[in-house]
Structures are given as C-alpha cells and as structure tokens.
C-alpha cells in the first residue's frame, strides 16, 4: 500500500549514516573539558588513574616476563586503559563483566587480583577462579563468543527481577563473527541490561579496521538491532565513564542494551607472539601516544588542583613496588598436583576419569614427572 509522502525520494541507509558519527570526547588531550564534568569525586578520579597506571606497569612487567620465558603468550593492553577503566568504573559490585583477553585493567578494577590475572597467563588454571564475590567470566579466547554469554546473564537477572547489568568487551574484529549479530539481536529483543563495549583499536591482529567491515562506524551497527549505539573517544576516560554509566542506567530502567564503539589503540603487539611492524607504521603509534589516556587524566587532575607531579611520581613508584610484589608472589607459587587436570571436568569425577588419573599417577611413579624442567 502506498503511503503519501511529500518528497517521493527513496531514503537509503547511506544517506542516513554518511559522516554522521564522530567520537564523543569530553576530556581533551591537554586536560581541558568539552562539556560538563561527570559526577566523580577527586578520590574516584584518583582511583581511576591508579588502576590505569597499575595496568600500564603490569603490562610492562608481563611482557618482560614473557620475553624471559617466565610467562606464556600474553596480550598487552597499553594504550587501551581508558576504554576499559572508564567503562568498568560504571559497574556496580554485583554487575557481571565478560572480558575477551585484553581487559586486564577492567578485570582488576572489578575485583580480580592482579596475581590471578598473571596466573592465567602463566598457564595456571587457578587464575580463572575469581573470588566468590567477584563476577567476572573467564577470558574468552574464541572471538565474540562471550558476547552472547553476557546477554544470557543479564537476561537471567531480568528473569529473576534483579537489576544486575552486564558489560562485555570485544574488539573491532569481533564484530565480524556471527555471534556478534546473534548476541546483539537477542539483547535487542529481550531488552537485556547489557553494554556491548567494542574497543575499536583499529586492528584485528594485522587486519585494519576498514578491511574488517564496510560500515563507516561500528556504532551504527546498533541500528539494525533496534538498540542504542554510540561512538566514544576511547582514550578519554571521562567520556567512557559517562557514556557507559548512562547506558547502564537505561539498561536497568528496562530500555535495553547499548553498543559503545570506543576508539582506541594498542601501542604494543597483538600478543607477545606478534610483530606489528609487518602491518603498521611506527609513526601511527607515535600519533596515538600523543593522545595517551593516562596523561590526559593526569593533566585534568592537575588542572583541577587535585593532583601534582610529586603525587604522580610517588604513584608510579608505589605501583612499581606493588607489581614487583605480584611478580614475586607469582614466581613463588608451588607446582600444582596433577589432580588439577581431572578435577572440575564434572562436579563428581566419573569412573573413566578416576581411571585416567590413576593411570597418570602410576606413570609418574614409574617414570618420573614429565613436567619437570618444563615450567
């Protein structure tokens, strides 16, 4: 049936979206504000700043450990601290966090001990055993799968009449997987209180963002699921906080999920197994370093007279000592018994695993420990 409209001109998607998205920035690189400051106390700002510095130092230590053969493959996050800390700062304690594999800062902020994070990358399963009062799902290596789990948890909360929300991280590459589509579509239909946080760091290993999708922005993908979407300057911790907070408020009020595209950049390799010089210029890295998220917040706090260079120096020193202790504790961990491999496959161990465990123990008794000299 034809509807009457004044201008009978087809509206195409490209007309609607062309050049429509620019990243929302609140805090400029020099520390000045673009708009009203979020409602955060000096202590809260300092807390954000501290976690970002912790993450930066942790990263450095972890990469070094890996280079020395004392840690497994590691995914560094340097450069992406604000995208993670700003958004995770909007979580309440009971909310659930679903990381991919690079969200060390977000996880630490939400209550995962740094030592546990290091354990995970050190090949120790206990690292995924978060404390009972911490709701962080284990690292999700199969890209984009965690998106749907986050929808399920938020949906379960809704079914149980609770207002817990979920925050799920993934990269620009993750938006190409089918699970991204399925997850956002489900969340739109069931109006779950989920924030889909895409850290667009412009590369998926080697593939640049423009080869990943022809969409002009990632944020605009929200439109096809009937959900809210926004593009944010991911190196601006205040904008990240404010936009995520508003998204949670909407979610808890039953208004459904939000897709946030946080534009940011990883300074380092994709993982310690990657060589980024094969696919990007160092000039590009330098450009991004001028927009460093930690510097930016520091400049702002100094301009607000709640911080100074002396405090900054003391903080870094303190954090270095903290991370040295984390590394020390990590290296002092005892080897774990082989039962650990068999435990937790099921709640109770079935006969076939009992048999296999006994077999392995007999083997070790007879032939010695195959793991000796291999850690």
């Amino acid at each position: 049936m034809a509807t009457k409209s004044k201008a009978n001109k087809p509206v195409t998607v490209k007309d609607v979206f062309k050049n429509k998205f620019t990243p929302y920035t609140l805090l400029n690189p020099d520390g000045t504000l673009n708009g009203p400051a979020p409602d955060l106390s000096p202590e809260q700002l300092q807390a954000m700043h501290r976690v970002m510095v912790e993450a930066r130092v942790f990263d450095e230590r972890a990469v070094n450990l890996q280079r020395q053969g004392r840690l497994g493959t590691f995914a560094p996050l340097s450069g992406q601290e604000a995208a993670q800390v700003g958004s995770a700062f909007a979580l309440r304690k009971t909310d659930w966090l679903f990381p991919s594999y690079r969200e060390h800062a977000a996880c630490a902020l939400h209550g995962q001990p740094w030592l546990d994070i290091l354990k995970y990358w050190g090949g120790n399963e206990d690292g995924s055993r978060v404390p009972d009062d911490v709701n962080i799902f284990p690292v999700a290596i199969p890209i984009a799968t965690q998106i749907i789990h986050a929808v399920g948890a938020a949906w379960a909360a809704k079914i149980q009449g609770k207002d817990d929300a979920t925050l799920v991280f993934f990269g620009d590459g993750g938006t190409s997987e089918g699970d991204f589509h399925e997850g956002l579509n489900f969340a739109g239909v069931f109006k779950t209180a989920t924030v889909f946080l895409c850290q667009n760091n412009f590369y998926a290993i080697s593939l640049p963002r423009e080869s990943q999708t022809s969409s002009e922005s990632i944020a605009q993908k929200a439109i096809s699921y009937g959900i809210e979407g926004i593009q944010v300057d991911g190196n601006d911790v205040l904008a990240m906080y404010q936009m995520t907070k508003e998204a949670f408020d909407r979610g808890r009020a039953g208004e459904g999920p939000t897709l946030i595209e946080a534009q940011t950049y990883r300074y380092g390799p994709h993982t310690t197994a990657d060589d980024p010089t094969r696919y990007r210029d160092s000039a590009e890295v330098d450009q991004w370093k001028e927009r460093d998220p930690i510097e930016r917040l520091k400049n702002y706090m100094i301009s607000q007279s709640i911080w100074d260079d002396g405090k900054e120096e003391a903080l870094w020193e303190d954090v270095r000592a903290q991370m040295a202790k984390v590394v020390e504790d990590y290296e002092a961990l005892p080897e774990r018994p082989v039962e650990e491999i068999f435990k937790y496959t099921f709640e109770e161990m079935p006969w076939h695993l009992e048999e296999q465990l006994a077999e392995l123990k007999d083997f070790i008794a007879e032939y010695g420990n195959p793991n000796e000299g291999h850690h």
């Binding site: 497994g72 493959t73 594999y101 995970y120 050190g122 090949g123 120790n124 399963e125 690292v139 290596i141 199969p142 890209i143 590459g173 993750g174 190409s176 997987e177 089918g178 699970d179 998926a204 290993i205 080697s206 593939l207 080869s211 990943q212 999708t213 197994a273 990657d274 094969r278 696919y279 774990r336 082989v338 650990e340 491999i341 068999f342 496959t345 076939h352 695993l353 296999q356 465990l357 392995l360 083997f363 007879e366 032939y367 010695g368 195959p370 793991n371 291999h374 850690h375």
Partner: protein, 326 residues
C-alpha cells in the same frame, strides 16, 4: 635438495600449486600481508596479489561458507583456520555443507577445498589453541582428514590434498612446524592420500600414530629396542580418514600386539575406531588387548600442565610394555 622445515614445505607447496593452477587461492585471517600467524603463507600475497591471497574479516563461518561457494563455482580455495580451536564457529558449514555437497547434489556440485589448520598441543599456547579435533571430522561422512608428521610428507600431502576432488581437512602439527629439517625436493610431487607409512619395520608390536605423536613414538620405539630388546613396527597414518586399513591389519597380523597413540581425548578418539577395526578384522591374531596412549578426557590444560596431558615417549613405552607383558 634443500633442507626445509615442515612449515617451509607447506609454504613451498602453496607457492607451487598457485603457480601451476590459477584456480587455487588462499584465504583466511592474517594470511595476506602478514603471511599468516605462523608465516605459512609468507610471500604468497606479494607473489600472487590480494585476489588470490585474501585477508578475510574475522569470521570462520564466513571463511568456510564462502570457500564452499567458491569451490562449487570452480575455484580451488585453500582456506586457513588460524588455530584448531577456531574451527568450531565454522562447524555447521563444514558438517552440513562442505562434507555433503557432492552427495546431496549427486555430484552436480562438489567441494574441492583444503582447509588448513595448525593442530595440536606442545607449544605452550593459549587456551583453545592446542586442540586435537580429528574425531569430529573422521566421524562426519564426506571428509578426508590428513595430518603429516614431517616436511617431505607435508609438501606431498598438501599438493595431493589441493588436487583432491573432495574436501580435505589438512591438519598441521604446529609443534613440528620448526622442530626439524628434512630434504625436500624442489619439484612437484604427491604423497597419496589414504596411504600410511611404515616408518620403521618391526616384529613384536605395532605402534600406530600420527602428527607430532609419530616423533614421540619413534623415540619410544628406540627406547623399547635399546632398553628391552623389543622390536617395534611404527606406522604413521598420515591420512587419518579414510585410513589405510590394509597396512594396519597386515602389521597387526604380523606382530599380534598394538598400541595406538594420539593426543586427542581418549573417548571416541580415533584410537577407538582403529581398535574397533582391528577387533573386526584381526581379533584372532591379537595376543593382547590393543593399548591406547592418548590425551585424557579433560579440557586441554593450560600450558604449565600440558606435559602431563600430552603423551610422551615414556608413556608410549609404558603402553608398549603393557601389551608385551600381557
């Protein structure tokens, strides 16, 4: 003849075949400019261009699904799945489509593609990067499943796979990518699909294995000979499915004892199928039950404990002794 690693042999096979047959193209995550995360496709992008060495978006179902369409249309795609654990998002495309396109269309459409996948444990990799999923594909009617254990076979089997008229899952033992070198002829040659190799002849016990575990079993066979005077016949299956039943049965009939070694979890591992076939075809020749030396029925542990999980030479030796002392 040049001395090459397994990954160099794979790279050389890809180069050769792309030069010989312009229908052949590679596609996958980071396979182009980056040359693949293991550098298996190094140089191909520069030589053959972005149309034949395609960097795809991050989507395994998309990679396999579009390769199926390409293969049906007449190309010879060689998609790469970056790691064994990431075949799973493409599972439906593989099982419901690639495996049965010929069957469903009575041969009108076929699916001559070779899915290359770095396979297995032993390199201290991350979670989901050390899986041994051959059972899923051996159990799915319509696939050929290949897994070389050395550079020479890697090249010849890959060339045979790409030329094969049916979909081939070509697993690459990543622990052996750079573990040793071997003489590999520069020219074109094939190692036939469906033919096992008798790596070492012996008389007391047959050890059947594939991929990385062939190296482990070789070490065990040496120990068995030196320490216990046991003569091991070692079979490298090379093609896991359809497997070379004649070589297996002939050997077991001769030795009367057998050990199957694989890194995949034990239950419904390929070992179970091999034992079933031996039971069906050579039970009366058996002097002892066939022994399985395998990964355990648990998730692949993080790297700190992977040496407990992966069979090693001593575990294979223990298995050999168990059959011999039965």
């Amino acid at each position: 003849m040049a001395h090459k690693t397994l990954i160099q042999a794979i790279n050389e096979a890809l180069h050769l075949e792309m030069k010989r047959d312009e229908r052949v193209m590679i596609m996958g995550e980071d396979v182009g400019a980056n040359g693949g995360v293991f550098r298996a496709t190094e140089g191909i992008y520069n030589e053959f261009g972005a149309d034949r060495a395609v960097d795809t978006p991050l989507a395994e179902a998309g990679i396999i699904g579009s390769a199926i369409g390409m293969a049906a249309y007449g190309l010879r795609p060689v998609p790469e799945i970056q790691f064994d654990g990431f075949m799973l998002p493409a599972f439906d495309q593989l099982v419901s489509h690639a495996a049965r396109l010929r069957w469903r269309t009575r041969g009108r459409f076929t699916c001559p593609m070779t899915v290359r996948v770095p396979y297995g444990g032993g390199i201290r990799a991350l979670e989901h990067h050390s899986e041994a999923p051959e059972t899923y594909y051996a159990h799915t009617p319509g696939f050929k499943v290949v897994l070389p254990s050395n550079p020479y076979d890697a090249k010849g089997l890959l060339l045979a796979s790409i030329r094969d008229p049916d979909p081939v899952i070509y697993f690459e033992p990543k622990r052996l990518y750079r573990a040793f070198r071997q003489d590999v002829p520069e020219e074109d040659y094939e190692v036939p699909i469906g033919k096992a190799a008798v790596v070492k002849e012996g008389t007391d016990v047959t050890v059947i294995s594939w991929g990385t575990m062939v190296r482990v079993s070789e070490e065990a066979a040496e120990k068995a000979q030196e320490e216990k005077g046991i003569s091991v016949e070692l079979i490298d299956l090379r093609t896991l499915w359809p497997l070379d039943i004649d070589t297996v049965i002939a050997s077991v009939q001769k030795t009367g004892r057998c050990v199957v070694v694989h890194e995949a979890p034990r239950t419904v591992g390929l070992g179970a199928e091999i034992i079933s076939l031996i039971n069906e075809k050579a039970l009366l020749h058996l002097e002892a039950p066939v022994v399985r030396v395998t990964g355990y029925d648990v998730a692949m542990p993080l790297f700190r404990m992977e040496n407990y999980y992966m069979p090693n030479a001593n575990r294979v030796l223990q298995g050999i002794l168990k059959t011999v002392q039965f």
